[in-house]
Structure formats: structure tokens, C-alpha cells
Subunit: 262 residues, 3 copies
């Protein structure tokens, strides 16, 4: 976890995304602003070859189609074969049967390094009750730490539950990250960009729990810094992306608010 | 129409979009900035189920494909069955035979609540002469108020003709909205974002004429406010989106310039 | 080349794009900010008819699929028949066999006016050694002027190699443009937006070499101006797009740094 931001800027990990068409530009930009190299490639004819050069693969089902799911599985199997970490963002799982079936298929057929979702999405994947309206979690989730831990243990993955306070578990320990700013929830794409951020950080470290803790914390700190520059959503988004590009390991060490809760 | 903006922020209507890939991020953001919840879902396997949870459905043919048109018809029929209002944006109709045929098929097979287009697009749908170059109206349209009224009457829909002055008709009365700023025409996506805005406003009101008048007026006022903050297009777009997020019912009541013209 | 920017604003060339879904919004906006009219249309049912009204066609394989390649070939053949210039951006060629085969097929079946790529992409198309990681050139390219000249000669096209210094050749002469700013490489989409810019400029001139020299130079000057307004990437992108909209022929004449190198 030491000097991971500097390591990213030095190693420039290539992060292959198969993602939705709503926030794809944001995902590409944030990858570049951290110091990584984004590549978006979806054609089934090329995804296996493209992922070979990558340091991480981000799969995001925000605007899934039968074709993109096929490409995700092809790329994912190749990534697994080569030991390249897969970040999975099950956007909107639970909103439709199709999304839920696809998400469960991905978990069944691929070995995922990090699963990131909101409280509703993670609860549904963990087999608990959860409600997702469109792509937003609705309802209350009282035992989210246990839910995250259960999913992480079952999937042998690191699980991130994004929210006002983020929960992270490797199936054993559970951590809570308190960094962040509520303006982050008022801009489209902050969930997806966290997925890309996880790809960048896991692309330079083989300890996915540590890389995830650093990624989530650094992301939240950038959100805090941006809130000092802008308070309205569109301006805030620009300020947030600028903050990503200038965040340092020193900021991360100084500002992090991480505690183990289980 | 009373306090409709406050109602949006309270009810948080889910607006399901099947839209183009050029302005999809703008559409999602403006939906969220008004206080609604955007969801973009295109797979034919899920659109009927996704629209069930929605308060409005926005169909935009800006970058149509055979697959997306199929999804539009599936989602639209389900929306009709459930009484969920459909906003239809016939982007570029008249530019190609394919677009014209698709647009006419959508009007034939679906019951549309609000049709929004530029002068060329609306004229073509009304069976009048119109010229569309790419996705822009060219030429002069002298009797646009009558044209809008005719289309609205024939389709039993509210019709919005966007332009320097916007025309709105329910097939009986015709209104003109003078709010807005010419910088709005110098940014890609302001047409599409008006479609999303119509989805948000019609998602909290069963009086689609009143909701449309409020939506078009509020949108124009936000454009005016933004012009005091920025005068170049990319900065203006950020300012415009910021203005959306802070617009109030008081602004709407105070600044609206609506007159009945027929 | 005289007063080409004024000519664009007067003629408003329609630029038909078949491009990737990462930077499509940026491409549309920059086309509009120069004074052109963007249209993005991909359906094989309509691309031949859409391109008929266009002044230029931009083909960009950044997120190619079998369907989009089919549409590119249909539109391209129609453009060739009508004498409409095609700008080809072989994004990521060399990264996968599929991209390389598609790019070579496009060069074989279509008559391209301008080919634009980074050093790796152009080297690979020229049959030289080149390395592309994702969509970025890696490695060193010592004889890039000769490589560009060779490709231009073989394809009877103007070739642009984008980089810190841009290289332009028509197969005979070779020019170097020193305008630009290194922040341009730190934002996603500046390569694709240069492709759109070439479409706009070649859409109002039949001398593609001169139009290309003007386009690349004007683009670089806008990048320089923006660097005086912002130094972080997301803010810089907004400033850069604003600079495009206000750039004049006088700026171009005064600030251009072009030299013939071969």
C-alpha cells in the first residue's frame, strides 16, 4: 500500500473496460488521471487478445446486452487464465431478472478479484433482501457489514459496498472508510469511476485488499478536496476529476479515515 | 403545475431512457440534477421489466439501430399498458428514410404523451414539408404553430417544437415560451436533455400539457441564468447543468414567459 | 487555406461520424464549436443515405464491432462514389489482430483522404514495426517522417502522425507542426477530436493537404491558449473546447509553427 499512487504513475497499468455507454468517458478519463491507461474494447473477436496486455479488467453491466455479456465472459476467462484481476460492478442487479441472472452467471463462471456495488446490489448478490430502483439502492440495510463479509467469503473476493461510509471486506475482516463527500452521490458516474479506480489500483498490486482500501480511501479524499472548490454538481464533477490528477500518497497517508469494524 | 420542481425532488421519478450514445451522459446527469433518477437500459431481454418501475419513458432515435428500435417498441408497449408517459424525440427524422419509417412506426404502434423536435422534425412528422440536415432543421417554417397543433391533434399528444421561441400544443391550444438563451443551441445535447427534462416533469404529473409547459419554461430559465455565468460553449454547458440543479419553483413563477398564441 | 475558419462558420459542413462510444460526445461538440454540424449515425440501413448530405466522413475504430465496421464500409463506399473526403482514425491498430485486419481492410476497400494516428498506429499501417498498448503508442520511432511519407505515398492519402510534434505528409513533402501543449495528451479524446477537426476542415476545402495543415495547426494553437486558462486535466478540457470556439484565422496566421522537414 506504500506509495501506491506513485507506483501507478510509474507503471501506467492498462485497464481494459467492458462497461456501459453512459459513463464510459468518465471511466476512461479517471483511469488516465490516476496515471493508468484506459482501453475500452467490446468486440468478441478481440477482447481475449486485448486483455492479455492489461493489468486489470473492469466489467460493468450498466447497459448490458447479450453481446456485451458474451464479451465479458470471453475476456474474463482469459483474464483468469493469466491471473489478471477482474473488478466487477453489478450495476442495477435486482432491477430486472436479466441483470440478476447475468450477474450470477458472471460470479459463477469467473473468478472475481473485487466486487463493488451499492447496498442494494451487494445485498442481492449475497442472497439477502435488497431493492434496486433503476440503478439506485432503496430501502434500509442494517447488517451491511455482515452482508459484505458473507458475499466476500462465498466468492473469495474483496467486496466494496459504496455509500456515505464505504464498507470493505475480504471475507474475514471488515473495514469502514469514512472519506468522501455527499456531492459525489449527486453526479452520475461516481460509482462507475470507483470501479475504474479499483482497476487502476489492483493493476499495480497483488494484495487486492490493500489495493482496494487505498483506492476507496484515495477516491474519497479526492471527493473531499473537490468539495472545497465547487458545490454544484457539474462544476463539482470537473473539480473532482482535477483532484484525482493531483492526489498524492502523502494526501492519502495524512487524510485517510479507515477503521476495522469486524 | 404548482411547486412541480419541489415535487420532483420529493418523489424522485425514475426515468427510463432508450437513447442515443452521443448525449446519454448528459441525459442521465440532467435527470439526476432535476431530482429524478435516470436509468438507461436497452436490452430487449429487460426493457419491459425495467420500465415497470419507471415514472416516464424517454425514446430518442439519435443513433438508432434495428436492435434499439425493437427495444423501444417492447418498452413502449409495456409503458402504454401501465399508463406510464412516453416522451418521443424523433432526432434527425427526415434525414434518412430509415429514420422516417422508424419514427412513423413508433407513432403508429405507441401512444405517445409528448413529442419533442425541432421545426424540421415536427414538420415532417406532421406530413408537411421539412428539411433536416443530419440532425439540424434547415429552411424556414412559417406556420409552425399550426403544424404543431395539427400533429398534436392527430397523435393525441402534446407537441413541443424547440427553437429560439418554443411552441407547445395539445392539439387545441398553442403556447409560446420565450425563455431560453441562444447559447443553448451552441452546445450538443440541449435537445436531448430537454427530452429528459420532459420525462422528469411528466413523471410527477398526469397533466402532460401543464407539466410540459413547466418543463420547457424551467429549462429555458436555467439557460438564461447560465448565460450570466459563462459565455463560451463548454463552460456554458457546465454552468447550465449547475443552474438546473439549483432552479426553484420560485424562479419558475417569477421568470416564466409563456403566452397563448392560438 | 486562407480564412478557412471563417469559411467553416459560413458553410457549416455536415460531418458524418462512425466512431467509438468513449469520445463520441467530445467529437460532436468540437465539430459544432468549429462551426460544423455533427451527425453520428451507425445503422447499416441508413449510413449510405446519411453520408450523401455530408461534407466529410470520419471513421474511427476505437470501439469497433463487426456491425460498426460493416456500416463504415457501406458509408465509405458511398462517400467515395460522391467524392466526399474520408478521415480514418485507426485507433489501437496493432493492439489486436482484429483491429489490424479491419484497418487494413478499410485501407484496401476505401479511398481515404486523411489517415491520422499516433506513432505506433502509423508505423504499423506502414508495415513497419510498431507497438500499441491498448490505444497508446509505446516504444521509440526514429524515422517517423519517412514512415509517414511512405504510408501517404502508398495510400495516396495525407497522413498525420500526432505527437508532441505532429508530422504531416502527402507522400511527397513532409511537414512538422510544433503547435500544441503537453496537457492535450493528458485528456481522453484529444486524438479523436483531432479526427473530427480534420473532418470539419477537409469538409470545406478540396486541397486536403492544406486543410490538414490548417486543422492540425489550429488545433494545437487552441491547446496552447487553453493552457493559459487551466492546468489540471478536467478543467483544461473545458478550456480547450472553449478555445476552439473562439479561434480565428488571425490566430492561426499569427501563431502557426509549421516547417517543411522533407
Amino acid at each position: 500500500m506504500e506509495k501506491i499512487i506513485a507506483k501507478i504513475k510509474e507503471e501506467r497499468p492498462l485497464v481494459h473496460h467492458i462497461t456501459n455507454n453512459v459513463t464510459v468517458n468518465d471511466s476512461a478519463n479517471i483511469t488516465l488521471y490516476w496515471g493508468g491507461l484506459p482501453v475500452m474494447a467490446y468486440a468478441k473477436e478481440e477482447v481475449a487478445e486485448m486483455v492479455e496486455a492489461a493489468s486489470a479488467l473492469v466489467l460493468n453491466i450498466g447497459t448490458l446486452t447479450a453481446d456485451s455479456v458474451e464479451a465479458m465472459l470471453i475476456a474474463g476467462k482469459e483474464a483468469n487464465k493469466l491471473g489478471i484481476p477482474i473488478i466487477f460492478d453489478p450495476v442495477g442487479v435486482g432491477a430486472t431478472t436479466f441483470r440478476t441472472e447475468v450477474a450470477l452467471k458472471i460470479l459463477r463462471e469467473l473468478d472475481i478479484a473485487v466486487i463493488k456495488g451499492n447496498q442494494g446490489e451487494i445485498s442481492i448478490l449475497a442472497g439477502q433482501q435488497g431493492e434496486v430502483k433503476g440503478v439506485e439502492a432503496v430501502g434500509e440495510y442494517k447488517n451491511i457489514a455482515e452482508t459484505a463479509q458473507k458475499l466476500a467469503k462465498g466468492q473469495k473476493a474483496v467486496v466494496v459496498v459504496s455509500g456515505v461510509k464505504d464498507i470493505i471486506s475480504d471475507g474475514d475482516k471488515v473495514y469502514q472508510v469514512s472519506n468522501g463527500n455527499n456531492l459525489m452521490g449527486q453526479v452520475v458516474g461516481t460509482g462507475c469511476m470507483l470501479g475504474s479506480t479499483l482497476g487502476v489500483f489492483c493493476g499495480v498490486s497483488s494484495n487486492y485488499l490493500e489495493a482496494t482500501l487505498s483506492a476507496v480511501t484515495a477516491y474519497g479524499i479526492a471527493g473531499e478536496k473537490a468539495s472545497k472548490k465547487a458545490t454544484q454538481p457539474a462544476s463539482y464533477k470537473v473539480a473532482f476529476l482535477d483532484s484525482i490528477s493531483e492526489l498524492s500518497d502523502e494526501d492519502l497517508a495524512r487524510e485517510q479515515q479507515v477503521e476495522q469494524v469486524m
